[in-house]
Symmetry: C2
Subunit: 266 residues, 2 copies
């Protein structure tokens, strides 16, 4: 389930995201009526807790309400709908990303640290990868995160046109690799079947149903048998080890490409 952002009233969404405190933005005075027991903050945190623990598929208005001892409908007093709640969760959780990278260590080291932090962030909050990027949420923490990455990249001396391409590529490589791990964890959690068990069952079937596999896909078999990295920690599931290698290797490939661009620009 990809979740799409910002479907509703843009004014309301933006006011919520940026915690607009101008008169008329958020509520200012306390009016008659019962004291609010909840708040946007509390609801957003509860949503994050549900998504962290049970995944995006388990994030329902009912589930969030229940976690707060309320019904689903109680949330609609604070938040226009589920789509906006996801936007707020997304921007809130992005606040975790660090911003203090040392430019003195050189751009490559700094970008590598950034990638490492971002990778770990995605694994901490896998559901974030299911928030659509097509129409960005446009919240403060998302902008701040992008600004931080741009600071590291402008240190390469490349011009804006060149950087546009690099930014997207970096983000795609980190997200792509993290997505593999994230989805595999979701699959393991929701089906109760580990990567190993899943693969064991499938590969057995595969051999049985496709006896001529090795002849039909020789290069695949070659890559499979030759390229494997040595297993340093077998507590990490197979697919996750592979994804980690793709992440590290992919990052190196992209950074090599950036270095080539720098040399060309000189």
């Amino acid at each position: 389930m990809v979740v799409f952002a910002g479907q509703g009233d843009p004014r309301r969404s933006m006011a919520l995201l940026w915690r607009d405190e101008r008169p008329g933005g958020a509520r200012t005075r306390q009016w008659p009526g019962p004291k609010p027991a909840l708040s946007v903050e509390v609801i957003v945190r509860a949503g994050i807790a549900v998504a962290d623990a049970e995944g995006m598929a388990a994030l329902s208005m009912r589930a969030v309400g229940e976690r707060l001892g309320r019904t689903a409908m109680a949330l609609y007093t604070y938040v226009p709908g589920k789509s906006e709640l996801v936007d707020l969760m997304y921007d809130q959780v992005l606040a975790e990303l660090p911003h203090d990278y040392d430019p003195a260590a050189g751009w490559r080291a700094a970008v590598t640290s950034w990638a490492e932090d971002t990778w770990e962030f995605y694994l901490r909050h896998p559901w974030v990868l299911q928030v659509s990027q097509a129409r960005p949420v446009l919240g403060p923490h998302e902008y701040r995160a992008l600004e931080t990455l741009l600071r590291l990249l402008y240190a390469t001396g490349l011009d804006s046109a060149e950087l546009r391409r690099v930014v997207g590529t970096l983000v795609h490589v980190v997200r792509g690799a993290a997505r593999t791990v994230a989805e595999s964890r979701v699959a393991a959690a929701s089906t109760g079947v580990s990567d190993e068990d899943w693969w064991l069952a499938r590969s057995g079937m595969l051999e049985e149903v496709v006896p001529d596999f090795a002849e039909r896909f020789p290069l695949l078999v070659r890559l499979e048998t030759e390229g494997a990295a040595p297993v340093t920690d077998d507590s990490v599931p197979y697919l996750e080890r592979q994804a980690r290698a793709t992440f590290e290797g992919g990052l190196a490939v992209v950074l090599d490409g950036v270095e080539a661009a720098i040399r060309r620009a000189r």
Copy 2:
């Protein structure tokens, strides 16, 4: 909505994917009872048609059944459930990918053609990007597509360990950029709001709610104003033009990285 693959009985799934014709695999003899009016093939094609036309979110058993003049439950005679249907749709549609790349033109040209074809394929079938890659479908056409890419990459002379990293990176870059376009089209279709209108509404709000934007995010503003590529075809929506540039630029960056690896390996 990300759709997860292969939840059910592995034997049944594999037999369906590989169209197993060994005795006991698929049905062999015609038994008593009414003639089947449908078939796995017909259902899979109807599913693809629905997903192409209305997106993954609109793909329901009801919708597929309706397109065939049947109820949702009729499909369950042929297919164990929705998850398996999506697997079959996925592998079927992958059959469209070409395999005949000219190695004589050099690996870089060949990989560029591959990327271009894959990009177009994703735009033709955007819903494919929502099928989870964590636990692959393991169908014949998916394997064939991977084998094709590997053929192009082994032509670089790099060893398997090196190629493992390159493969994942290439795939992530193409998929990542295509995903942006795909999601933006889905958003436009499902909300009826174009990219332009959406951005107009948001950017207006943003200026109003965050008057100090330029001071808080100077590099973002710099990238936005400086880096834009000249508009050659304004019939293509803004976000799509950007994604296309990210795709082309990202591919170039990655291929530069591969060339660096080749030089190192010599």
